[in-house]
Symmetry: C2
Subunit: 200 residues, 2 copies
């Protein structure tokens, strides 16, 4: 992909479900399968969000993740930094000091301050970060709620609840023949997605 990878996309989409007003804790697997996305991969994303204080985790069979702060206080920038780790837009290699005229010893004036090319890139990166810092999860959740029909959040809640119930029931009522046994996992995780590819 490009500078912002699939991880942030998955992470943000998952967080949007958790940002619903009355959302309960949800496991990374359920969030992934709710969206038709690789559960293993989503499971790798959430620990980073937790270390950044964006979500809080509770272990155990009833466990899962919930937001650790109000959605209005979580900026998109915070999520991006938590997942991707502040990769800079541009890495200056200090070429100005390598000019052949200097014969190996770069004069001080040539390496003082920030390289002018680097400076433009830093300004551009900062502008990008400003925009990301200006949008919160609550803002995003608001725009999708404005498009979705009323009651969708409730549907999602029962979907998640049903999955939990099914998993618990499967444990209690597991006869020797597990004909309908793993019903909860539905048609399995066919989240493997073909690599993106251009038209030839």
């Amino acid at each position: 992909m490009a500078h912002l990878g699939t991880s942030v996309e998955y992470g943000l989409h998952c967080l949007l479900w958790l940002a619903e007003p009355g959302a309960a804790a949800a496991s990374s697997r359920d969030l992934a399968e709710l969206q038709g996305v690789s559960p293993s991969f989503v499971a790798k994303i959430f620990p980073r969000l937790e270390k950044a204080g964006i979500v809080s985790a509770t272990p155990g069979i009833h466990g899962g993740y919930r937001l650790a702060q109000p959605a209005a206080q979580i900026s998109v920038l915070a999520v991006v930094d938590a997942i991707e780790g502040r990769k800079p837009l541009f890495e200056c290699q200090e070429i100005r000091g390598r000019c052949a005229l200097f014969k190996g010893r770069a004069p001080t004036w040539s390496t003082q301050g920030v390289c002018s090319i680097h400076a433009v890139m830093l300004r551009a990166e900062q502008r990008m970060r400003d925009e990301l810092a200006g949008s919160s999860l609550a803002d995003l959740a608001g725009t999708v709620a404005r498009k979705a029909p009323a009651g969708l959040d409730g549907e999602v809640r029962v979907w998640l609840g049903d999955r939990l119930q099914a998993r618990l029931k499967a444990r209690s009522g597991d006869g020797p023949a597990r004909s309908t046994g793993k019903r909860a996992t539905e048609a399995g995780t066919r989240a493997t997605r073909p690599r993106r590819r251009e038209a030839p």
Copy 2:
């Protein structure tokens, strides 16, 4: 590196030399060795700048590149796009349509317009591009000229001129013994640079 690769860094540094007020045409090899950078790699960058109309090329032994427009009309954004080819900051994979509740048939309201997450990223990318579009090669060249001692541009001009003369002379005066023969190429191109690496 990060989203903006080494190619743009090399390209911009080379263009800054060409943006000097009285600069003559310079070959990609000379520009590269003037800055202690791989000549082969720089040679791969310039054809893209030419196709974008930023530089113009003249073949032949006296050939080289020169700016095709006044430096004040060439924006940093144009150079970046010419070299890297408009890679987006974010590639939306339309996850909103994959919600398990839809059972494979995504309703129209869910895929209408731009995904809200994608929209934030597009705004952020646009702000970044705005900043890059606001800086021209002339602006950059001005800030470096303000730091460098007067007369540096002249020194560079004679350095480039000397290399051309030396190459032409080497052809005329090549005796059977080439003792001092390849003096022009100096100590060769040891521009191979070790891969960037973090501290362990």
